[in-house]
């Protein structure tokens, strides 16, 4: 696949459709609504993206650093989990970035108008919990004025907040854009209504997608808070009762809905998604996902394995490759429908887990 290197929502963006029967179709993303059915509920993540990259200095050593906020701390409004990089910026690939100077508890980080103290180290030289020494108002102002959107080397130009906010962006709680939502514009939302497709949102604080360190990346995604409005929960339960489909825009929506709907009914209100979703998991709420294209091995890709079997995913990968789909957050999209259900007994979590574990072992053995 080709890296999408400009922050534009291409008018000719492609959409690969992996249908419930395993067939694969090529189309345009502007035709997404044609693939939806009357009565479907489309759920998107309306989180706006924070300017979560803060450049500054490690005061004890005077070394330049970049702090990427990655999650809220549990203890206080001004506490965060953060990934710290050494000198340099997004133009260097994350995996090639310098480590920060050795961080110690109590170290002060000067980040533009803000100061933060390292509260604790989180088992890794790059991962810390921070506390900002600022009032709530000063913290918001400091982040808004000094922060930049987190970005990666494949997009050359410096991103602005308007580049990383989806059309439906609302509460600024995401650390990186819930980028599947770039597939949505207001024309599409209006077309859904015209077709009798219900549009609903939740808010999920999407975390960072890469730390540049394989050990840390293996722990992604971190726990992510979400909020499901009552009206969204009701729309989902009504649709499921009527055997209609739930279409998630993005992996964060799948993660939130499957977490909130663990017992089969989606609970409204706040929650923290702390589970990983992969081939071993049976989806209880979501029937289809619209996503960007992702490389095998990432947590996004793993999540797709809950929708379809590996051979279908591999065929989809081959089609994406053969037709030069563009990858990363500003790239093309896929719509993956959950594989038509087998008889319930064949789908018990235990047997699927065993099946997938043996398949994994077989793959490892083959290498």
């Amino acid at each position: 696949m080709i890296a999408a290197d400009k922050p534009i929502r291409a008018a000719d963006a492609k959409l690969l459709h992996v249908a419930a029967d395993g067939s694969i179709h090529h189309g345009l993303r502007t035709d997404l609504v044609k693939l939806l059915h009357r009565g479907d509920v489309v759920v998107a993540n309306d989180a706006a993206t924070l300017p979560a990259s803060l450049h500054g200095m490690h005061e004890r050593t005077g070394a330049p650093i970049e702090v990427r906020l990655a999650g809220r701390g549990a203890s206080a409004m001004n506490a965060f989990v953060a990934v710290v990089f050494g000198a340099g910026d997004y133009r260097t690939r994350t995996e090639d970035r310098n480590l920060p100077p050795t961080l110690l508890e109590g170290d002060v980080l000067a980040l533009g108008p803000l100061q933060a103290v390292v509260v604790s180290l989180l088992y890794h030289p790059r991962l810390v919990s921070l506390r900002f020494m600022a009032s709530t108002a000063a913290l918001w102002e400091g982040i808004a004025r000094h922060g930049r959107p987190i970005q990666y080397a494949h997009v050359g130009q410096s991103l602005e907040l308007w580049d990383v906010w989806t059309a439906i962006a609302g509460p600024p709680v995401a650390y990186e854009a819930p980028s599947a939502g770039f597939a949505l514009d207001w024309r599409t939302v209006a077309a859904m209504r015209g077709k009798g497709v219900k549009f609903a949102t939740l808010t999920h604080a999407a975390g960072i997608s890469s730390t540049g360190d394989p050990v840390l990346d293996a722990r992604l995604p971190f726990d992510e808070p979400y909020y499901i409005p009552e009206t969204t929960a009701v729309a989902i339960d009504t649709a499921r009762t009527a055997n209609r489909r739930i279409v998630a825009i993005g992996t964060t929506v799948v993660r939130a809905l499957e977490h909130a709907g663990n017992d089969g009914v989606v609970a409204a209100g706040p929650g923290v998604a702390n589970q990983r979703i992969g081939a071993a998991d049976r989806l209880r709420v979501v029937d289809a996902i619209v996503s960007g294209t992702h490389e095998a091995g990432t947590s996004h890709y793993e999540l797709l394995r809950a929708f379809v079997d590996d051979s279908t995913l591999q065929r989809a990968d081959a089609e994406l490759e053969a037709h030069a789909y563009r990858t990363h957050e500003f790239g093309d999209s896929i719509l993956v429908e959950r594989r038509l259900a087998l008889p319930d007994s064949a789908w018990t979590t235990g047997s699927r887990r065993r099946e997938s574990a043996s398949r994994l072992l077989a793959q490892v053995g083959a290498k």
Partner: protein, 241 residues
């Protein structure tokens, strides 16, 4: 009215002077959760301090780079928005000038503030406004208009043309987003005794002008008419973090 606005999240641009300040005061007194924007740091701090619990943000709606920085702070601290009042306005040339005497730069500034500024603020807050509508809280955008948007008055060309453009945009926004549950309204407050009016017509008889507090009350009455009553989940603050 006290009950009607309890928990309603309202953002006012140009909130430290004239009608904007009167709106911040009246909305705050009526129990709304008020966010406001203005250009001067000291004035924002003062108005915030005088109206405990309001969220004041420094920014200039005519500057593209300021819009999302303001939106992050307002939405982050309020948790969302139910009503947006685009009140910040620029007169164009001051004192007012005939079109033949109007500098292009003065006209451009009026358009940047009154047309593009309002447009950009709406776009940045649209996700939150439509979310409010979907959650049954209602969602409303009030764009402050003027008699000069409708009638041709000598000297009011730059301002009047910008407000006419804003009024037309308001209608198109309303047409496009009525199905999403967001209402758009252009309201003319009338000639008020405000610093802006004094800049436009320095020798006006102030006693003949409407008090901004009166116009603010009229705006709030129009707002209440268009919003669901009572506001559902008004006491529940929406947080994902």
């Amino acid at each position: 009215m006290q009950q009607a606005l309890q928990g309603l999240r309202v953002i006012v641009t140009g909130g430290t002077s004239g009608l904007g300040l009167a709106l911040v005061s009246a909305l705050h007194a009526a129990g709304a959760r008020v966010g406001f924007v203005a250009r001067t740091t000291d004035r924002v701090a003062e108005v915030e301090w005088l109206h405990g619990g309001t969220v004041g943000v420094v920014g200039d709606v005519s500057v593209k780079q300021d819009i999302h920085k303001m939106a992050v702070q307002l939405l982050g601290r309020l948790g969302g928005v139910d009503v947006l009042i685009n009140n910040a306005s620029d007169l164009g040339p001051t004192p007012l000038a005939l079109l033949g005497d109007t500098q292009c730069e003065d006209f451009e500034r009026a358009l940047q503030t009154n047309v593009l500024g309002a447009f950009r603020v709406i776009k940045a807050l649209l996700g939150s406004l439509t979310a409010s509508a979907r959650e049954g809280r209602g969602a409303l955008v009030i764009n402050v208009s003027s008699d000069a948007a409708v009638n041709a008055y000598a000297g009011w060309g730059a301002y009047g043309a910008s407000k006419a453009a804003l009024a037309h945009l308001t209608k198109v926004w309303n047409e496009e987003l009525a199905s999403q549950g967001v209402r758009f309204l252009a309201l003319d407050p009338g000639d008020m005794d405000t610093p802006m009016h004094a800049a436009a017509v320095p020798d006006a008889d102030r006693a003949s002008l409407k008090r901004p507090e009166t116009a603010a009350r009229e705006f709030i009455a129009a707002m209440v008419d268009l919003l669901p009553q009572p506001i559902p989940n008004a006491a529940v603050s929406r947080k994902a973090s």
